[in-house]
Symmetry: C2
Subunit: 262 residues, 2 copies
């Protein structure tokens, strides 16, 4: 009866599966996880889990089936190029128990592109048209070969520029969650100085999630405190409580002891 | 009877579990996964899987139990600081079904350090001495609060400088696998130009793992080919075959078509 009762926020969850031996050997430092995390946070979608697995069919199938059953969306990166170690299309098909086919529309797009460029549409390049039967395309404005969507799984390239271009096309198609609002509050003290009062603030503001992120500049620790909530008033109240907490700490004993907390 | 039969190489496998809401929100871009991957590759240990999960006990327990049963080693980062959202020690204890205690030796180390610095050893700071009963320490030269080892699980801080310092102490304690040798070969062509012959090279050299990593500089694709093997002669033969393959490609039709392959 009260108009102050708001409806429950929409929670939309997601996972990422990054595929590639090169990520696990250290040869390539992943850039897609952080990019996806930023995009999903802006869209109010909770990235709950990330896995990185090798270019091995069993590993991809198992991880994909675990993640797609549990979360609203799964986003994959890597393994959809033209070489023998690109096994993502086969693995995704196997996970969904459908044939992996040379998609006719993808074949047409690629054939046209290679003809326009007077390049041979080799058997290897034709591999880039393969996807699970029934999948729909994710357009690739950088290099034509499409990603694809099947069920709640979005399959994209591992090259960051292509991954990002594909995600720009995917984002408008996703249902957004209630956006999580956040407020970052710089704290000049290490976590050991604020842990106890901060826990009290968190307890007093149960509808928020308060994160504490230690920073170390080589000489001293400080902390970035981040208050998150879906309701702006709830956020304001908790952020104010955090700021008050910081103001009430006696910093005089701390300043000379820079490296005490991890 | 033949002395040309070599013993089977020692295979040592590992997984990483990175713990922290901030990695999933995009606020922090992980630096520990790539560092660990580099170190393990140098040590001949195969990093087979990485997971990133939130600061939620159930998520940590489930991932840890899955990974520690499957791989020789598990390395974790994050969640061992003094604040309320640092739940790794509790979660690891729960996974191993042992009590999470204030470790006496860690309490002594921390108490001494804070006394030396004339800082209060607060309840929050005492949280950093918590670990599963029976765990052994990983020394922390940066900020004293130790990481710990229980079973095959190595629990370390998330702050990269501390994670790296802890790993420097962990590495000499690990059994090394047969080191995987690798040879990187720059290839000026995109994957579509080399996919078919490269697959033939891989097939002809089954004891190697040949990876193909597309690069895109904003204008054109090229490829880095990486041959990996445990036997140096096997590596040499496969690397030579890859170089020959590149030399035999007719590049004249390719140079004007820079962005054709993903």
């Amino acid at each position: 009866m009260s108009d102050t009762l708001s409806s429950s926020p929409t929670l939309v969850s997601a996972a990422m599966l990054a595929i590639g031996d090169e990520l696990l050997s250290g040869r390539t430092k992943d850039k897609n996880i952080g990019h996806l995390a930023d995009l999903l946070t802006l869209s109010g979608i909770d990235l709950k889990e990330v896995r990185i697995v090798a270019d091995e069919e069993d590993a991809v199938v198992e991880a994909l089936n675990a993640l797609r059953a549990r979360y609203d969306y799964v986003f994959t990166s890597g393994g959809i190029g033209p070489t023998h170690d690109d096994i993502t299309a086969d693995a995704v098909s196997k996970a969904f128990e459908v044939p992996c086919i040379h998609d006719p529309e993808a074949m047409r797009l690629l054939a046209e592109m290679y003809e326009r460029r007077e390049m041979e549409f080799t058997e290897a390049r034709q591999r880039m048209a393969r996807m699970p039967q029934g999948a729909t395309h994710i357009a690739n404005p950088v290099s034509t070969a499409p990603g694809f969507v099947i069920g709640n799984v979005h399959v994209m390239a591992g090259v960051p520029q292509v991954f990002q271009a594909m995600m720009d096309n995917v984002l408008p198609t996703l249902k957004s969650g209630s956006k999580v609002l956040s407020r970052a509050i710089a704290c000049p003290y290490g976590e050991g100085d604020i842990g106890t009062p901060l826990a009290a603030v968190q307890k007093a503001h149960p509808e928020t999630s308060i994160g504490s992120y230690p920073k170390y500049d080589g000489k001293r620790f400080s902390t970035e405190l981040v208050v998150r909530a879906r309701d702006p008033q709830v956020l304001d109240a908790a952020a104010q409580a955090v700021a008050d907490m910081i103001a009430n700490i006696d910093g005089t004993r701390i300043a000379d002891n820079p490296t005490a907390d991890a």
